[in-house]
């Protein structure tokens, strides 16, 4: 049934009218808050962002957006940023390519992309912003490729356009790597396609040959089919199959053995004997088996590569989200955005509350509190005032400051730590996967067996000695053996990613399968890395009075009170006075209330000091001149931590805390989650963490040493450990050096990960056993001289198929424990 254009217009009108009839926002369909309802307007909006987006679409004739059944069910959260740093020369150098036709091209990672209508909207940006030649969105990675005319429009204008539609753009930091990967992926796919087509056609020719045994084919045609198979299999080995030969040669040259060596031996010996038999016009040819082998092995390799790529990609996209801008104050007081890479010593930068610093420097104006937990692991934010040094990677949490940059880029403290990270990653010994370890013995055993077969048959029937020895080499080609690990690992990695665990390499899973030593960072890993009310010692009636006073403050401690007492109702406070670095006093319900640090409160009220755990920041409350309550502010332990720790320990892991925070704080947290004081190390610098990990590695050669952390201070230790794990909300440096990244807060995914790794290893071992059994059967047949090409052609795919099914059905990571 065709719908005319006029009909579709009418439908659009209806679709557009409907949301406002039921009171929802026209743009996103969510409920309109009472304060935003405009009584006489046709269109209602839940927020300014949705209104702006609607106006833009309407103005450019893009109302058809509202016909989509599936639209974003979230308000447009536009940042309203200027994106000036997108026009900076340094930014252009880093991310933008100039095309041959004079247009510029960039890849941007968009936030907020999640459905089909987003593709439609983003790809119509060229209609909204003049000068954009094309915009293509890849929905799986939320990546937009933008091509525009730099003489007609600036990139910041395009970025602002995307932002106002609700898709804040971020530069993608893996552009160079991305191009290499794309090339590799395409080459791999071409090889698989060619190998597959050849394998199927060789099988057809082989089928004719096999059936000739039953019917009786004239020798003339048999010869023809042999030559056809020969002609087909030659390019399969020379082109797609070449990867096995080059990698086997590389392994031999490095004097190591891995899976590709026995594969190459089987392919070469089978091909040479088949060629000789074709020319001699007698004896078996194994061409169909060889072609099938090449195809299956390539598919296995591709699957493994793709699983790891997807996980690595997701982690990379996450760190594209870290801020890409710094605000530089010019000589005339004007402020402009530049990329952090463009900061130079001597510049003055403006850092608002909640932003992270882009360079090291000295505060020139303002005073604030700095959260350096990502850099040092310290959980308590420290006060910083004019003249003090602050470092890149720390976060300004209280009030705006201006900083004169003295070290930026390569010379900043973060960069120095990062160099250490690279260093320790380089030093780490490569892990030899189980399958490759087996390969060594395998090659030796097969070659010995082939030699024995040859010698034995030489005395029995010398004309069959060569045939049988070569049949053995072919049938023992470790196809299933080589497939078993990649398949099990890629299935596990795929399932893990769905559970929020990104595994960047298969060897990490293999390492985690055996329990070893586990080092946990405290801040952000075990605790929530935020200021919260942890202890309260005082009567109930004081709470509303305290809260009333804190209600009007934006200080982190005030926020902690508000978050903890959401259910306490209050009245308004009057005459409240904030004293910086001290506390607040004011009048609530006729009482004079003082809340603040002990020295501040003691100066204004009488009463005994109340004892609060020394690891917490104490806050006292006085009412009408009498101290009545004490609160402890700290960093609360994640709710699932004690249970997860207990579970990990039950599975055989030895757990230690390794933190940069004060030793007393680390011990208190350790006690809370059941870790003995002697396993808790506090006050550890990044260097000390690295040394601890390296010492642990030197002690135990067999069991893995695992480091879990979130900060820049953990990055070097994470890179050095046998398996490094980064947790939710961590710093970019830490994500980059980790083998595994947990996207969900809390430690339960760590339990899930280690248990999943153990199950994956079990699947791999079972697969290896399966394929070895098949190989034994084949070897027995070949040694006894009963192996015909038909049996070989049946045995090899059967073994591979068993492994594929066993891997696919294995429950390595299920959503049970999330």
């Amino acid at each position: 049934m065709a719908i005319s254009y006029a009909d579709s217009r009418a439908l659009a009108e209806v679709a557009r009218a409907r949301p406002s009839e039921r009171g929802g926002c026209v743009h996103c369909g969510l409920d309109v808050p009472p304060g935003m309802v405009e009584a006489d307007a046709i269109h209602q909006f839940c927020c300014g962002g949705c209104r702006t987006a609607y106006d833009i679409l309407h103005e450019h004739g893009l109302d058809r957006y509202y016909e989509f059944a599936e639209r974003r069910g979230a308000p447009v959260r536009f940042t309203g940023r200027g994106y000036e740093e997108f026009d900076h020369p340094t930014f252009r150098e880093l991310y933008v390519r100039t095309r041959a036709d004079g247009l510029a091209e960039v890849e941007l990672y968009l936030e907020g992309v999640h459905c089909a209508s987003c593709v439609w909207l983003v790809e119509r940006v060229p209609l909204v912003v003049a000068g954009v030649a094309s915009m293509e969105l890849e929905i799986r990675r939320s990546m937009a490729r933008v091509i525009w005319d730099p003489s007609a429009v600036t990139l910041s204008t395009i970025a602002r356009g995307l932002d106002s539609l609700g898709y804040p753009p971020h530069p993608f930091r893996g552009v160079a790597r991305d191009a290499v990967r794309r090339r590799e992926d395409r080459a791999m796919l071409v090889r698989i396609g060619v190998a597959g087509a050849i394998a199927v056609n060789t099988m057809l020719a082989a089928l004719a040959l096999y059936s000739s045994w039953f019917g009786g084919m004239e020798p003339e045609y048999q010869r023809f089919f042999r030559w056809i198979s020969f002609a087909l299999v030659t390019p399969a080995l020379l082109w797609p199959g070449r990867v096995f030969f080059t990698s086997a040669l590389a392994a031999l040259r490095a004097r190591t053995l891995h899976m590709d060596v026995p594969i190459a031996i089987a392919l070469v010996s089978g091909y040479v004997q088949g060629a000789i038999n074709t020319i001699r016009d007698s004896g078996p040819v194994y061409f169909d088996g060889l072609a099938m082998l090449t195809f299956l092995l390539l598919v296995g390799r591709y699957l493994q590569q793709r699983g790891q790529r997807a996980a690595a990609d997701s982690a990379e996209l996450l760190y594209s989200l870290t801020p890409s801008t710094a605000r530089v104050v010019g000589a005339d007081g004007s402020i402009r955005d530049v990329p952090p890479q463009a900061l130079m010593p001597g510049m003055i930068i403006d850092v608002r509350a909640g932003e992270s610093l882009g360079a090291d420097g000295v505060i020139v104006s303002g005073q604030t509190r700095i959260d350096s937990s990502l850099l040092t692991g310290e959980s308590r934010p420290g006060a910083a005032r004019e003249g003090e040094r602050v470092f890149a990677g720390t976060v300004n949490i209280a009030s705006p400051i201006r900083v004169r940059v003295d070290e930026s880029g390569e010379t900043s403290r973060v960069a120095k730590i990062m160099r250490q990270v690279e260093e320790s990653a380089r030093r780490r010994a490569p892990v030899v996967a189980t399958a490759n370890r087996i390969a060594g013995y395998f090659v030796a055993a097969v070659l010995a067996l082939a030699a024995a077969t040859f010698v034995a048959w030489w005395f029995v029937d010398s004309s069959r000695a060569v045939d049988n020895a070569i049949a053995l080499l072919i049938v023992t080609c470790p196809c299933a053996l080589a497939l078993s690990t990649p398949l099990a690992v890629s299935v596990a990695i795929g399932r893990a990613a769905r559970a929020g665990v990104f595994v960047k390499g298969g060897d990490a899973l293999e390492q985690l399968a055996t329990p070893g030593r586990l080092f946990l960072d405290k801040t952000g890993t075990i605790t929530e890395a935020r200021t919260a009310l942890v202890a309260w010692d005082g009567p109930q009636w004081v709470r509303p009075l305290t809260l009333a006073l804190e209600e009007g403050s934006s200080h982190p401690i005030a926020t902690a009170f508000r978050m903890a007492w959401l259910d306490v109702s209050t009245t308004a406070a009057r005459d409240s006075v904030h004293v910086n670095g001290g506390g607040i006093e004011g009048r609530v319900d006729g009482h004079h209330v003082v809340v603040g640090s002990p020295s501040f409160v003691h100066a204004r009220a009488r009463g005994a000091a109340r004892a609060i755990d020394p690891s917490l920041t104490p806050v006292l409350v006085a009412v009408d001149g009498e101290i009545v309550a004490a609160a402890g502010i700290g960093d609360p332990v994640r709710a699932d931590a004690p249970a997860s720790i207990a579970q990990l320990r039950a599975n055989g892991w030895t757990i230690s805390l390794l933190s940069g925070d004060a030793p007393s704080v680390v011990r208190t947290v350790g006690k809370e989650i059941g870790i003995a004081a002697e396993s808790c190390t506090g006050g550890a610098s990044p260097e000390a963490k690295l040394a601890t990990i390296e010492a642990a590695l030197a002690r135990g050669a067999v069991t893995p040493v695992v480091m879990v952390g979130d900060g820049i201070n953990d990055a070097a230790a994470i890179a050095a450990a046998s398996v490094g794990i980064g947790v939710h909300g961590g710093a970019e440096a830490c994500l980059a050096s980790a083998d595994i990244y947990l996207t969900r807060p809390g430690l339960s995914s760590l339990v899930q990960l280690t248990e999943g790794a153990t199950r994956t290893m079990r699947v791999i071992r079972r697969n290896l056993a399966f394929s070895l059994i098949y190989n034994l059967i084949g070897a027995a047949l070949a040694v006894s001289g009963h192996l015909t090409p038909l049996v070989a052609a049946l045995l090899m795919p059967a073994s591979s198929l068993t492994v594929v099914i066993a891997s696919w059905r294995a429950r390595t990571f299920d959503e049970r424990s999330t």
Binding site: Y5, S8, G61, L62, R64, A116, V119, W120, E123, R124, L127, E136, L137, E138, I139, R140, R182, D185, R186, L189, V190, G193, V194, A197, N201, E218, Y221, F224, I228, L232
Partner: protein, 50 residues
Amino acid sequence: MSVLYIVLPLALIVVAVAVAAFVWATRHGQFDDLDTPAVRMLHDDAERKR
């Protein structure tokens, strides 16, 4: 049976053409993104007629 001498090479030529087409498509990025085009074809381009 001698028809095989003509049919089989012909069949192989057809296969070669198919493989060449596949290689061409891969090298031109047809398999780079398998998710978005499935979504994109649902959007007709009526707004360009205006």
